[in-house]
């Protein structure tokens, strides 16, 4: 693995990775409940960011309605694990179901919509996201409308409920690691190469034998499934969800995080989440200026550093590095 920062070149990747993992593992008892909660928020955004990164950063599709899949995952779990229908399906059983539901949503939306050009795709997906929110708000008998779904069950590990910030931190950390691992594997594979080629020059990629529509759909669906998982986790953690939790702002936040952190780069997304979610927490009292700065940052980043703070490092496709002195 080729590291982006020269600092790490001397340290073998396995060691630096272990150090990072160790560090993150001991954080909660050290920083306490409040910061564990914040870190949990950052973690969920990281998962969403990694998922949207597959869509935007790898495949180059601007999905502004990403929050819809987040909502599908959240409501999917909440409906099956709360007093709403009296069903209390265990979290771990529902998690793959929510992933599948969101993926199905992604496929259904993607099939008609992925033929559209970049800016049209953005607006249509934005419209779709809004439609989902309106439906969630108005389908009263099912979703309880604006009153939301309350008393959602937490996950259980054996007999232990995951119901405090520190325990949640570990669960979310596991989620982020799985997400990052999955995205990394996909990126460094035949699929990832197809995505990169497609992003660079779609027509040339098609002529080189890549089925553009299929790979766009794949990116869209896979991206949606990450959001589905994040949604289920979000619902279980919050304990109560409302349609207003799933507004356009969430999609925009995730997009900002990717753009500022670095499109197509997983370390970039992680950095983006820390910067965009964590920093405002540390600088409390500047709430109103947060969105203002997001907006300004987007414009500035596009003009001066469109590839983000930590752009995707040039990686060689997996297991195919030629035996050649560098």
């Amino acid at each position: 693995m080729k590291s982006p920062a020269p600092l790490f070149r001397k340290i073998p990747p396995a060691v630096s990775l272990s150090a990072v993992i160790l560090f993150t593992a001991v954080l909660p008892p050290v920083v306490g409940n409040y910061w564990s909660q914040v870190l949990g928020d950052i973690g969920i955004y990281m998962m969403l960011g990694i998922g949207l990164n597959v869509v935007v950063g790898f495949a180059g599709l601007l999905d502004l309605g990403y929050v819809a899949f987040f909502g599908i995952g959240a409501y999917g779990y909440a409906l099956m694990a709360s007093p709403q229908f009296g069903m209390h399906v265990p979290f771990w059983l529902m998690l793959p179901v929510c992933v599948a539901l969101a993926a199905a949503g992604g496929a259904l939306l993607g099939i008609p919509v992925l033929r559209l050009r970049g800016d049209y795709l953005a607006i249509v997906t934005l419209g779709f996201g809004e439609i989902i929110r309106v439906i969630l708000n108005n389908l009263d008998p099912l979703t309880n409308g604006p009153r939301g779904l309350l008393r959602i069950d937490p996950p259980f590990l054996g007999a232990t409920p995951i119901n405090n910030p520190q325990r949640w931190y570990y669960l979310i950390l596991a989620g982020v690691l799985v997400a990052a691992f999955t995205a990394d594997r996909l990126n460094n594979s035949r699929i990832g190469r197809a995505w990169i080629a497609m992003r660079e020059d779609q027509d040339a990629a098609a002529v080189m034998g890549i089925d553009i529509l299929k790979y766009k759909l794949l990116a869209f669906t896979i991206g949606a499934s990450f959001a589905g998982a994040g949604g289920a986790i979000f619902a279980a953690r919050q304990g109560a969800i409302f349609p207003e939790n799933f507004s356009l702002m969430v999609s925009i936040n995730v997009l900002c995080l990717i753009i500022i952190g670095g499109m197509g780069s997983i370390p970039g997304v992680i950095l983006g989440a820390v910067v965009l979610i964590g920093l405002p927490e540390m600088l409390r009292g500047t709430e109103q200026y947060r969105m203002l700065s997001f907006g300004a940052l987007l414009v500035i980043m596009m003009i001066f550093r469109p590839s983000g703070l930590l752009p995707a490092s040039r990686r060689r496709p997996a297991a195919a590095a030629p035996r050649e002195p560098e």
């Binding site: 180059g60 601007l62 502004l64 008609p112 919509v113 559209l116 050009r117 970049g118 800016d119 049209y120 953005a122 607006i123 249509v124 934005l126 419209g127 779709f128 809004e130 439609i131 309106v134 439906i135 708000n137 108005n138 027509d203 356009l248 925009i252 997009l255 753009i259 109103q288 200026y289 969105m291 203002l292 997001f294 907006g295 300004a296 940052l297 987007l298 414009v299 500035i300 980043m301 596009m302 003009i303 469109p306």
Partner: protein, 308 residues
């Protein structure tokens, strides 16, 4: 309570549809003009509309406080329109210079993301200015209704329908008959050829933004007077709906944007007779998705060719 489709209700909705349709058309023209010239969606156009509305509000409030508004209501209204159009035109120009011009040669997504950023920025600037509280337009005109046969129409509605129609007609004549209008059409059709003909492309682009923004500002003042309540997010949904209207008519196509706006307004007005009111906004989104999937060229067809 079932809606019975009496003639009176249908006529009411017709007037409503034309009113809101005129407003959508004015905003849609901004999208279509910019798209025709730059092939980009000015995502921040809704915020230009919103700023125009607030500028009109500021003008009217100022005139109210100085006692001018009661004595010269019509002049005050015109002043409000003027103030709004100037402010928005300025804003549009700055927007183009700062957020779009540097990205003219960048990837396809970059201008769009920049526009999203500008949109968020402007929304929050206004949020900070008004300290989160919504504002109410001063009562410059008292709402009076006129009954003409089956039709019941208010003075506001007359003003909006007439005003938007006049502005649209004015724009159409401007584009068709004046030298600058011709230059705009030339730049829209073939930018490099137009430049070779000696047209100052940057100036034409700026003029396009000025005109589109001024029209949106006019719509903003109309909305302010008609609905009286304005806030920093008021540009978001009308912005998307107006974009839908522009696409409906064929993006880049000026008469198309006008027709698309009217069509959307009427569709919404008559649509609420058939479905719960909360789903009204979904009409526009659903239309957008359907049009883009089944007839992306719109009703009148996309005038300029696809950029790969």
């Amino acid at each position: 309570m079932e809606a019975f489709f009496s003639a009176a209700i249908l006529c009411d909705q017709l007037i409503n549809g034309l009113t809101i349709g005129g407003i959508y058309a004015l905003i849609a023209l901004g999208y279509t003009l910019v798209y025709g010239i730059l092939f980009m969606i000015n995502f921040a156009h809704g915020e230009i509309f919103m700023f125009g509305s607030f500028a009109g509000y500021a003008a009217l409030t100022f005139l109210l406080q100085h006692g001018v508004m009661e004595r010269h209501p019509l002049a005050s209204i015109l002043a409000a329109f003027l103030a709004a159009m100037v402010v928005s035109a300025l804003l549009g120009t700055i927007l183009e210079r700062v957020a779009y011009r540097p990205l003219r040669r960048a990837s396809r997504l970059a201008p769009l993301i920049s526009a999203i950023g500008a949109s968020i920025f402007l929304q929050n600037v206004m949020l900070i200015i008004i300290k989160g509280r919504m504002q109410v337009y001063p009562d410059v005109l008292h709402e009076t209704f006129f009954e003409i046969g089956w039709f019941s129409i208010s003075n506001f509605q007359i003003m909006i329908i007439l005003g938007s129609f006049l502005l649209m007609a004015g724009l159409y004549l401007f584009i068709q008959r004046t030298r600058i209008g011709r230059a705009m059409r030339a730049v829209a059709e073939d930018r490099s050829a137009a430049a070779l003909m000696g047209i100052d492309v940057n100036r034409i682009i700026m003029i396009t933004f000025v005109i589109g923004s001024a029209l949106a500002a006019a719509a903003g003042v109309m909305v302010g007077m008609y609905y009286t309540q304005i806030n920093h997010m008021m540009g978001f949904i009308p912005g998307i709906k107006a974009f839908t209207a522009a696409v409906l008519g064929g993006i880049g196509n000026v008469p198309g944007a006008m027709l698309g706006g009217l069509f959307l307004g009427l569709a919404e007005a008559f649509g609420v007779l058939f479905m719960p009111a909360q789903y009204k906004d979904v009409i526009a989104f659903a239309l957008l998705v359907l049009v883009l999937i089944f007839r992306p060229r719109g009703i009148l067809g996309e005038v300029v060719s696809e950029k790969v």
